[in-house]
Amino acid sequence: MARLRLRFRSIQTHMALAFTFLILITILAMSVASYYLTKEAVKSNVQVYTAELVNQVNNNIRAYVNGMKDMADLAAGSYVIQNFLSVRQFADAAEENYYKEIISDFLGSMMVSRTDISSVSIFGYNGQFVSGRKDLELNPNIDPTSLGWYQNARNAAGQHVISPPHVQPVFKDRYPWVVSLSLELAARDGTKLGVLLIDLNFSVLNDMLREIRLGPRGYLFIVDWAGNIVYHPQQQLIYSNLKTEMIDRVLETENGIFTGEQDGGRRMYIVKDSGFGWKIVGVAYENELVGNQRRIQLSVFLLGIVCIVIAVALSLVLSRRIIQPIKRLQLSMQEVEKGNFDIHAPVSGTFETSKLAHAFNIMVGKIRELMWQIVQDQEQKRKSELNALQAQINPHFLYNTLDSIIWMAESNRNREVVQMTSALAKLFRASISKGEELVPVGTEIVHIENYLKIQKMRYKDKLDYHIDVDDAVKHYQTIKVILQPIVENAIYHGIKKKKGPGLITITAREEETDLILQVSDNGIGMDKETLRALLEPAPAGREGRGVGVRNVHERLQLYFGKSYGLSFESTPGEGTTAYIRFPKIPSVAGGETA
């Protein structure tokens, strides 16, 4: 679980997610934009195309209708026909047949070369019938006057009447689908004579319209002024109520375009008024306009998947290149954690990580150096302490002191014996710390006081001393045995070689952060050369002057840093002053101060 969350938070996952997200957004935005742009473009193209097609169809149909109208007008103006229909009674059958023959030939000649016209006939109000086709007989079971085209022509007062497509049952044994044009015929004087019928083969229109396709499923249909369907490629479905068209909206629209939702799909209707009562309507399915919608969706989907796979692979590779050096660095760090500083992280990979590795290497190097330094320092410290201890219990000093005590005892100077022994005891007590490295300045003062007391007893008037240290500084911490080697040095190398009594003065001076103990003597002093050599490391193996002093200096520097330690001022013949500088560390009650 934790591992999973860890994985989830890895750079790799973040990058993969970011890439995927970016790609998805881009693809989505682009596909939506392109889809809508294409859709709009195609839509307007289709509108133009469909409108043109509808116009063309309209022109074709008009050509047919106008042809019929011309024929009708020609026949209506024919004097022979008017005469024939006006005659109440023919002289004999021969005359009637003669008229009929002439009229039939006349009507027949109009039909020649017009395969679209199925028949041209006249029906007189007195029961006369002549057809341009001589093979046509009237259907004995049908009364022509009951038929729509006949009645409409009578009511239209000399206007052309175009019927919707219908079955023409008026001729015997024939039931053709036709579009009829009918016209009432009248004599010059206005007497109404009969009805002219011109039938147009509906199959001509049907064949023409059926071939028209607007897209895979688009089509064309025609309605008349009353909303009756004149032509529809799926007329049967409409009569069976399996399909509906928005006839009402088509009728409302003069010329123009509207879209509507019906039978599961938005359809675009392009309406054109033909000018003779029919409206031609082009229908296109909107979802078909933009090629294959499903195809577009699928391509987007597929493209998305491919891109995401690439994105994941890319982020894997990329993050691998970033993470691999980091991982190596991490391994190096683990080594360091274990304490192995002898390591060098490989500096490779990207600029940032190589910089990181470089910095790490420098850091490890520094640590290694510091560690070595510490080890060195510790070693030094140990040695110095050993030296200090040796200095503290200088066997010469002890031997001399004990010799003095013996000598004083032999001379029965008991009081002095007691004094010296007590001072010796105090000196040792002061130097015995409980193994702590740091002691209060006060203890150090007690220690040096007893030491000087002993030396004073030994040197009598040759040595005098004065200790003037304020109680206020006595609680500060310092390292052990810093005064004794310096005082010893002052006695043995300063005062002892001097004629006359010597004086050692010990004072303390407080600075802001440091405490300075001063040890001054009025001995023979030192020349510059000696002074300079005093703090320099002694050549190996040579015990000599200043070993103890140098030890103090080294220890102070080891403990407190390079800015602390000893410094000297000396004037040959007048004396030397030693300055012991260390930081003010207030003692913590009962505690240790590192």
């Binding site: 259907n139 079971n141 049908i142 038929l147 919707p164 219908h166 079955v167 049952p169 044994d173 039931y175 689908w177 049907n206 059926r210 499923r217 009756n228 799926q234 007329q235 049967q236 479905l237 009569y239 069976s240 399996l242 294959n292 499903r294 195809r295 699928l298 391509s299 597929l302 998947i305 796979v309």
Partner: protein, 325 residues
């Protein structure tokens, strides 16, 4: 290095395979293979079936279905139709639309269709087993009722009525007869109501009706249960000049029947909607194939055509179908 190269090669191979698979799938998704439907009708010689097949083709275009239409030369050729169904099954289409010539004898082969996992749509005439996914037909009992009611309107006094059936065991004819009988059997004016079967031949129907009318002047009504029987009966009545004595009520519409209507030989004919039937059978088949739920039975309806209403606009389209081609 070699293992890395191996990995690279393997992943490239997998990628290529996935690519091919995807493009194949893509192709199939975007250009779906049209469903294949075999339509087996009763016969391909009659106008009723030609109009029906028109509906089939219109629907096939609209619903993107590949159809194959087949049918025996006559409705009486039950064995021929069974052989055609067997043949269709071997072609493993997605669906078979079947208009059964025999109520019982088509059952085993219909079971075989369903057993092979092919969808079965029954068209026009059913079988004696409820195994089809859907049935598209005229409610023939209701159509029979309508014919019976028209006959009732013309009845005067005690009447003998002859029902002429085309073949013995076709479901559509059995249902029509049942519908006619439902109406007429309760009528007290009817003294006799017989059914005659004519073995799937118009000529037989003509001869049978001639015989009936000649032998029994008391027969004043004839009901032809389909086009063939109606035309046969009409010819007999017309020839005997009995159109005023004998009321003929028929089914379906052919040019001959229309002429009989105009002449008054045929008083009324109950027509179906073969175009709708063909159209809906394919629409339903397409829906069944794509896994949609469809009604168990779809009634395409029937209507009564008389001399008076035959030239009304909506009836014209049914009576004088525009057979394409």
């Amino acid at each position: 290095m070699t293992s890395k190269a191996k990995w690279l090669a393997a992943s490239l191979a997998i990628l290529a395979a996935a690519g091919f698979g995807l493009s194949d799938w893509f192709h199939r998704m975007t250009f779906p293979r049209p469903a294949r439907v075999d339509v087996i009708i009763k016969t391909n010689t009659m106008e009723f079936w030609q109009v029906l097949v028109d509906g089939v083709h219109v629907a096939a275009e609209e619903f993107k279905v590949d159809v194959r239409v087949n049918g025996p030369r006559t409705e009486a050729d039950v064995d021929g139709q069974i052989a055609m169904v067997e043949d269709a099954i071997r072609g493993r289409p997605d669906a078979i639309v079947l208009a059964a010539t025999d109520f019982d004898r088509l059952v085993p082969v219909a079971r075989k269709i369903v057993d092979r996992g092919i969808k079965l749509i029954i068209l026009d005439s059913g079988i004696n087993a409820d195994i089809a996914h859907s049935t598209v037909q005229t409610d023939n009992v209701a159509a029979g009722n309508k014919a019976g009611k028209v006959m009732q309107e013309y009845l005067q006094g005690p009447a003998k009525i002859a029902i002429i059936s085309f073949v013995k065991n076709a479901a559509s004819l059995l249902d029509r007869e049942k519908g006619v009988r439902e109406v007429l059997e309760g009528d007290p004016r009817i003294v006799r109501l017989d059914t005659y079967s004519v073995d799937g031949s118009e000529q037989n129907a003509y001869a049978k009706v001639m015989e009936i009318l000649r032998n029994d002047p008391g027969v004043t009504g004839v009901i032809g249960l389909n086009e063939g029987t109606t035309v046969g009966a009409g010819r007999a009545i017309s020839e005997l000049g009995l159109k005023d004595r004998v009321t003929l009520v028929g089914f379906d519409n052919s040019l001959q029947e229309i002429k009989f209507l105009e002449e008054g030989v045929l008083k009324a004919t109950v027509i179906q909607r073969p175009f709708s039937m063909g159209y809906l059978s394919i629409k339903t088949a397409a829906e069944v194939i794509s896994g949609k739920k469809v009604p168990r039975t779809i009634d395409t309806g029937s209507l009564v055509i008389t001399r008076r209403n035959m030239y009304e606009e909506e009836n014209q389209k049914l009576l004088f179908p525009f057979v394409n081609g």
